[in-house]
């Protein structure tokens, strides 16, 4: 059995498993019924490492979570791959998957926004720049959002804002920790002021989450910029990043033009942010699931002590499904 078949098989199994479990509105996540979506680099037999230029088997790269075996460079992965990497096998169910972008401003630049949306869906294999859902990480329930950079640069328009907001609301309802994996160029200009206001909307939802004292872990990945960094991404109780990811508010070029000087090479890297007190830790993708799992455990065990008598603390995926 080739690797591709293996993946396909595995996904079909998951899909079956999920279908049996779900009887409510939430439908099974796209990932589970379609073959993995690859960008041009990853789908050819060989890929060149962005970090060290070495040639890598794409299949091997994929198996290795997108990490280069030579230099550990963290290549971008799709939202679906990320979800697969982080959640327990088969234990993720997408919510609010039927929210689609519109063209509220009737926006046209060199090309109509409507066309861009269609192209983005086709090239990214995703319906918008984010996937949200409920799943488990080492048997602990979690509300998870993962941004899809391939979809118009992971830009935040009304759909991204709405999906994140609903995910947070769901987390509050179900007392779940929230994890958001960011990767974005910022706000989506084509939706004008409406996209700007999604910064306020998501932050306002996080204010409620904060008051509810629920954990929010923000994971920053290559690249995270603009209105996304300047709203939900920087509001984590714990903020972590993958190594070498570029993160900032303004783009490097804009800053260089403004201040008329060259910026240091490591400027706006995860390492720079750590040095400048902006993030809690840099976590390698290979340790990410364990890290998140342990943080969730550490942040829930004191509270759960009181409710110990009520039995085990573990979240079964079946319990979660009932909530969706």
């Amino acid at each position: 059995m080739g690797l591709k078949d293996f993946f396909k098989n595995r996904q079909l199994k998951k899909a079956a498993k999920l279908r049996n479990g779900t009887s409510t509105a939430g439908s099974v996540h796209e990932l589970k019924t379609q073959p993995p979506v690859c960008d041009e680099v990853l789908c050819t037999l060989w890929a060149k490492c962005t970090g060290c230029n070495e040639l890598l088997y794409t299949s091997e790269l994929k198996k290795n979570l997108g990490l280069c075996k030579h230099c550990s460079y963290h290549h971008r992965v799709t939202a679906n791959e990320r979800i697969e990497q982080l959640t327990d096998f088969g234990n993720f169910i997408e919510i609010n998957e039927n929210i689609y972008p519109t063209d509220p401003l009737n926006f046209t630049d060199l090309k109509p926004y409507k066309d861009r949306l269609k192209e983005a869906e086709k090239s990214s294999g995703s319906k918008e720049a984010i996937t949200t859902g409920i799943g488990t990480i080492n048997n602990q329930g979690v509300a998870l959002a993962v941004m899809e950079f391939q979809y118009i640069g992971g830009s935040m328009g009304s759909v991204v804002g709405e999906k994140i907001t609903r995910l947070i609301e769901k987390a509050i309802e179900q007392r779940l920790p929230v994890i958001i994996v960011s990767s974005s160029g910022g706000a989506r200009m084509h939706e004008g002021i409406l996209s700007l206001m999604q910064m306020a909307k998501t932050s306002s939802a996080l204010r409620k989450l904060h008051e509810e004292k629920l954990l929010y872990i923000s994971l920053l990945t290559e690249p995270t910029f603009g209105g996304v960094t300047a709203s939900f991404s920087m509001l984590g109780d714990i903020i972590i990043s993958e190594p070498k990811a570029r993160i900032g508010f303004a783009g490097r070029r804009v800053i260089e033009e403004t201040i008329r000087q060259k910026l240091p090479k490591d400027f706006q890297t995860a390492e720079y942010l750590l040095e400048n007190g902006q993030i809690d830790a840099i976590v390698s993708r290979s340790e990410l699931k364990q890290y998140l799992s342990n943080q969730i455990k550490l942040h829930s065990q004191n509270k759960s002590k009181a409710s110990e008598k009520n039995g085990t603390n573990k979240t079964t995926f079946e319990k979660l499904l009932a909530w969706v």
Partner: protein
């Protein structure tokens, strides 16, 4: 007809030329009876004027919003309040002059006023960084938001900024987090927050002091996710399509009102508030009083809920 040393914008130039002609002719014709020509010119002037100002394009409004003589927050504060006690600093290393904050009074009630403040000349703009705040400015504002909540002061923010400053130190000091925290904490305030876009509402840098129960805009102000120039550069791949971008982005007060983002448009005198700051400020004051009055009927929890629900509904999408 006298332009009060107002610097004309490009589209105003015909008007200024006409005005000059009339004045010249008038002084010459005092003693000969050539009144008819002057009368005709005056009629022409009025026609041209109403046509120009009736058909302002979005990019024209951008120009008015950025007019170097446009009133800034401290001008309005000065015109609407008998009191102004400025409070300085983020307490941790900098006083950012691109953001001003302090106490004013309206109807015998203490208000926390916050503004993004541009400078009037080069020297002042160096000090105020052309109205582009640093993280420390946003953190000063946050400190004052908390102060306002503690002492039950409504908050009024006056917004006129090209945006948050894109600089090295700003990034090093976490501009993103400074803005994000303001968004989150403004959403949670239990005192009324009213924001007024008085000039340029520049993206996240404006929103960071603009999450409010009521958002008002002056008639010729603009509010956008990105500057028309920036949008043009990115989407049109040229800097020359700012006018097109300004159209496409829907950034005028009228646009935002129609999109349901803002609650009220404050009228300006013909040509813009800089032609008569006093009059505009009085209209603004009336509106502020009205909204303060309305919001005063709510309990602290209701005020917070009102703001959060307002924000919650923003966005257009299709759900099937």
């Amino acid at each position: 007809m006298k332009q009060n040393n107002i610097v004309p914008l490009d589209f105003e130039k015909p008007l200024f030329a006409l005005s000059k002609q009339i004045i010249e002719l008038e002084s010459k014709t005092i003693h000969n009876g050539n009144k008819k020509t002057v009368e005709n010119l005056k009629i022409q002037y009025e026609n041209v004027k109403s046509e120009i100002y009736k058909n302002l394009s979005p990019i024209d409004k951008v120009k008015i919003a950025r007019h170097p003589q446009r009133p800034y927050p401290l001008d309005y504060i000065n015109l609407i309040s008998p009191t102004w006690y400025e409070l300085h600093g983020d307490r941790t290393g900098k006083d950012d002059y691109a953001i001003v904050g302090g106490l004013i009074e309206i109807d015998g009630q203490t208000i926390m006023a916050i503004g993004t403040q541009k400078g009037r000349n080069i020297k002042e703009n160096q000090k105020r960084n052309f109205g582009m705040p640093s993280p420390e400015g946003y953190r000063k504002a946050l400190r004052l938001f908390y102060h306002a909540e503690k002492f039950n002061f409504p908050v009024i923010t006056f917004i006129d900024t090209p945006g948050a400053y894109p600089g090295l130190e700003a990034e090093a000091h976490n501009q993103s987090q400074a803005i994000a925290m303001n968004l989150r904490e403004l959403a949670g305030l239990t005192v009324p927050v009213i924001s007024v876009i008085i000039g340029e509402g520049g993206s996240g840098g404006a929103l960071a002091v603009g999450v409010a129960n009521r958002i008002l805009m002056l008639e010729n102000s603009v509010y956008s996710v990105i500057s028309p120039e920036g949008c043009s550069a990115i989407l049109w791949r040229t800097k020359d399509k700012a006018a097109d971008a300004a159209n496409a982005l829907k950034i005028t007060a009228q646009d935002l009102f129609e999109l349901g983002i803002i609650d009220e448009i404050i009228p300006e005198v013909e040509g813009g508030a800089h032609y008569n700051p006093k009059e505009t400020s009085q209209d603004l004051l009336i509106s502020l009083k009205h909204h303060l009055q309305e919001l005063s009927k709510l309990t602290p929890e209701e005020i917070k809920k009102d703001r959060q629900e307002k924000i919650r509904t923003i966005g257009k999408f299709l759900e099937v």
